[in-house]
Amino acid sequence: MSFAWAKQYEPQTALTKWLDEKLPLPRLVYNAVGAGYPVPRNLNYMWNFGVLAGFFLVVQIVTGVVLAMHYAANQTVAFATVEHIMRDVNYGWMLRYAHANGASFFFIVIYLHIFRGFYYSSYKAPREMIWLLGVVIFLLMMATAFMGYVLPWGQMSFWGAQVITGLFSAIPLVGESLQVWLLGGFSPGNAALNRFFSLHFLLPFVIAGVVILHIWALHIPGSSNPTGVEVKQESDTVPFHPYYTAKDGFGLGVVLILFTAMVFFLPNALGHPDNYIEANPLSTPAHIVPEWYFWPFYAILRAFTGDLSIPFTGIVLIPAKLLGVIAMFGSILLWFILPWLDKSPVRSGHYRPMFRKFFWFGLIPCMIALFVCGGAPAEEPYVVISQIATAYYFLHFLVILPIISQIEVPKPLPFSITDAVLGQDKAAEAPRTGSVDGGDTGTAPEGSLQPAE
């Protein structure tokens, strides 16, 4: 699908003409990320992170495939083969540090991408499917990252695997057996390491597949934009190439500079020193912490310190551990129903005064508190802070969003993207060629992509 004014691919050379008849791959690229994809002209830098996430997925797959050529998933040698990569493989240290920090940067750009979605309500109709696929990608990323962290077979690898698979043991009746089945043993060992390596190799390609679906679903309604007003006319859009290839290229350069600074100058800053100690089932680290990108969810897991019991009887209805596991998985799974929780017809947080306050003074501080508490030892005052932040997290998405979408009075929206960029007077001067509805009547035509506003 595309807008009526989208540029059409015209093969120029004999080769591309021949190719276009047999397998129109250049046409596909042209329409997907080339001049054939009209994109709103007012995207800010927050719209850069989808491309960057795709870039880091490629970085992870390329570095990961080469690392796998030198790594052995066997508990007796896994730690040593990682050191072999660091010491004996040509530029092995660069590959491994790029892969380890690449995972961190993948999560940084994904979190910015997700929070862009929260602020500008990118999940709303007609883009629910893009959002749902995005949540699937995020869950797959978390699984992949967790299993990748186990592979160096250091202390945090081993004990992280123990703790995370231990979450499943909280499930009533079958939990203990489930954990043994997942690990292939009573504690992480060779069976667990082998299957984690296999899955860690497989899942990135599954992610790549879902990413293709994500982009496909994006191309049906087209990209959202900071005003939240849908595209109405040709002057609202510019071709993806060269406009956004140039802008994303600059953004990529900036992020690569930061990435390079981490890889070459602070490669271990985001990791834990204990993972340079070989896994030892007989020695538990003082503080078991996951990688930094899981800290907010780890804080939610640990926030539930008390069993749900009937007071004064001692009858436990739900143990604290199970409550924590439900809350942790629930905190991400609730994103699946987000498009139906927030029914405000206005998309952009820019035009939603109440939503905006709760976003900047509620959700963002809450996420920062969860992040800090997740990385801190399970002591006061971190526990109480994480409990308050966890409570706010669920209230924000499940209670506050549905209520404010009902009672909020949004600010007036610009008529069109062109108006928002140029101001109303100038936009009136500009010829409105190629309008969807054939004229600037200001009403969305039947079958337009505009949701009921």
Binding site: A80, E83, M86, R87, W93, M94, Y97, P242, Y243, A246, K247, G249, F250, G253, V254, L256, I257, T260, A261, V263, F264, F265, P267, N268, P273, D274, Y276, I277, A286, A303, F304, T305, G306, D307, S309, A320, L323, A327, I337, W340, L341, K343, E379, E380, P381, V383, V384, Q387, I388, T390, A391, F394, L395, F397, L398, V399, P402, I403, V421, L422
Partner: protein, 276 residues
């Protein structure tokens, strides 16, 4: 509507469970309950600082001091190697410390490597070859001396930690120890820079213990600094090369990003509204 109503009910329920069964009892306990017990040893712990003046490899432009690395290797060989192995390092790697190929072969031959005699099957020992890794160390005493190959990466701020640990031995302040009832347990030694101040390793270094080949005075501080530098090298042999590569890559990226920015500005020049 059903989804929103369900969401509100679920959100209030999970918050109620969290607040009533976890937050309120926990907060009450935090405010009015007994303070969490602290080990008396924590009163003696001091965060360790690195050597005065820092290491030659500190900072983004730092370089190895090869004479120091060679001295550090000597300390490892004559002191640490009695108990601690260095299994991820091979003798051939010593070339990076500035030794010639012949010197490395001669140095390797001073070590004995356990092996099997292929004709009899008996256990035997051979002189080390440059291709051999440092041999395993069998330790019969109490405790479990860790392998030192990665020790400076396996501790927070590892190079400074190793230096601080080696210079942190002493006796606890007797007045303070009597006050909190602290005694160093039998078989352990007091070290104010070790996390729980009771370490199984006796003080390994004393002044003048090693006679440096280059004539440097072998004070405890000097030997600690040298061996900490050597262990930084064993943990990260590519440290200096990595940063040099990094400056080159950063320079290229700054240039490429500047070009990308200029082309972005040029491509968008016709579209951007003029500033009022």
């Amino acid at each position: 509507m059903t989804i929103r109503l369900g969401g509100i009910i679920a959100g209030l329920a999970i918050t109620a469970v969290l607040v009533l069964w976890s937050l309120l009892p926990g907060a009450y306990n935090y405010a009015f309950g007994p303070a969490p017990e602290q080990q008396p040893s924590y009163a003696f712990y001091e965060h360790g600082e690195g050597p005065a003046g820092g290491f030659s490899f500190d900072g983004a432009f730092g370089k190895w001091d090869y004479a120091q690395l060679q001295r550090g290797y000597q300390v490892y060989k004559e002191v640490c190697a009695a108990c601690h192995s260095l299994k991820f390092v091979s003798f051939r790697n010593l070339r990076q410390l500035g030794y010639t190929e012949a010197e490395v072969a001669a140095e390797a031959a001073t070590w004995t490597i356990p092996g099997i005699d292929p004709t009899t099957g008996d256990q035997t020992t051979n002189p080390g070859k440059p291709t051999d890794a440092f041999p395993p160390v069998y330790y019969s005493g109490q405790g479990n001396p860790p392998d030192l190959s990665l020790i400076t990466k396996a501790r927070h701020d590892g190079s400074n930690y190793v230096y601080a640990l080696l210079t942190g031995y002493g006796e606890p302040d007797p007045a303070k120890a009597a006050k909190v009832g602290f005694e160093v347990p039998d078989g352990l030694y007091f070290n104010k820079h070790f996390p729980n101040v009771n370490i199984a390793m006796p003080q390994p270094l004393s002044d003048g213990q090693v006679t440096y080949a280059d004539g440097t005075e072998s004070s405890v501080a000097q030997m600690s600094k040298d061996v900490a530098a050597f262990l930084t090298w064993t943990a990260e042999p590519s440290l200096v090369e990595r940063r040099q590569t990094g400056w080159f890559v950063l320079g290229f990226l700054l240039f490429a990003t500047t070009l990308a920015f200029l082309s972005y500005k040029q491509i968008w020049a016709g579209l951007k509204p003029k500033k009022k």
